[in-house]
């Protein structure tokens, strides 16, 4: 198997994933929240509990800027910071109930788009899709 060819398929694929997920969240209007803040919430939602430096690291944001945005999110009551009792330097961050509710709305909207998208797919193909998702996550996107 030519790994260059594989890589090309990889690039095309990841581009498609970005494009489709972008489309799925397009119409969702997030009031009083900036794009970067939304991205952070999304990341917390799938990774909570999480520390500030992990967010900083993963989002390519400096610690000071991450800290500032998290303060804003806390002020908006969308997430909560707790000092980790094992290492009191660390902050354990999760969505607040309000933040969770907001993200649930977003996910609900995405889900309806997703269901639409796979509406005409047969039961057997669904199983293949599920298998493919798991395989790729295990072997490539781990």
């Amino acid at each position: 198997m030519d790994k260059n060819v594989m890589f090309h398929k990889f690039v095309t694929f990841t581009a498609a994933v970005h494009q489709i997920t972008n489309e799925m969240t397009k119409e969702v209007k997030l009031e009083g929240i900036t794009p970067v803040q939304y991205k952070i919430l999304e990341y917390i939602a799938v990774s909570q509990p999480i520390t500030l430096s992990e967010i900083s690291d993963c989002m390519h944001m400096s610690m000071p800027n991450t800290s500032r945005e998290l303060r804003k999110l806390s002020e908006k009551k969308l997430c909560e910071k707790m000092t980790d009792e094992d290492d009191r330097r660390k902050q354990s961050i999760r969505l607040s109930e309000e933040g969770q509710a907001m993200m649930n709305e977003v996910f609900k909207h995405m889900e309806s788009q997703f269901i639409e998208r796979i509406a005409q797919v047969s039961e057997q193909e669904l199983q293949e899709i599920e298998h493919a998702l798991e395989l790729l996550q295990r072997k490539v996107f781990y």
Copy 2:
């Protein structure tokens, strides 16, 4: 097949894709180019030729802002705009040679990371991965 369960796997999967592709471009230092401009270049790279409104649409950016960023990219000689001869309102946009060279560098870096990532995967598994990428792109991320 429970579509809620499917959706959950979908969300986890897309989150992983975002995270890994983020990581892969993390160390690449793009001089004299902003994050938004990079994203635009990346999009042009996989979709060229493309029009301004398509970029605007897909990137959730207003036309004026898209126009401004493309002007900056053109000034930096990273992309080229040509009026479409079939519809002279439209602009056909592609990477310049310089822009293409820049993105090639980025892709080269990503490729080495990708190769590393699949280094210990067997030939048969590679074929399965290739098949999975194609299946998902055809059935879900189209």
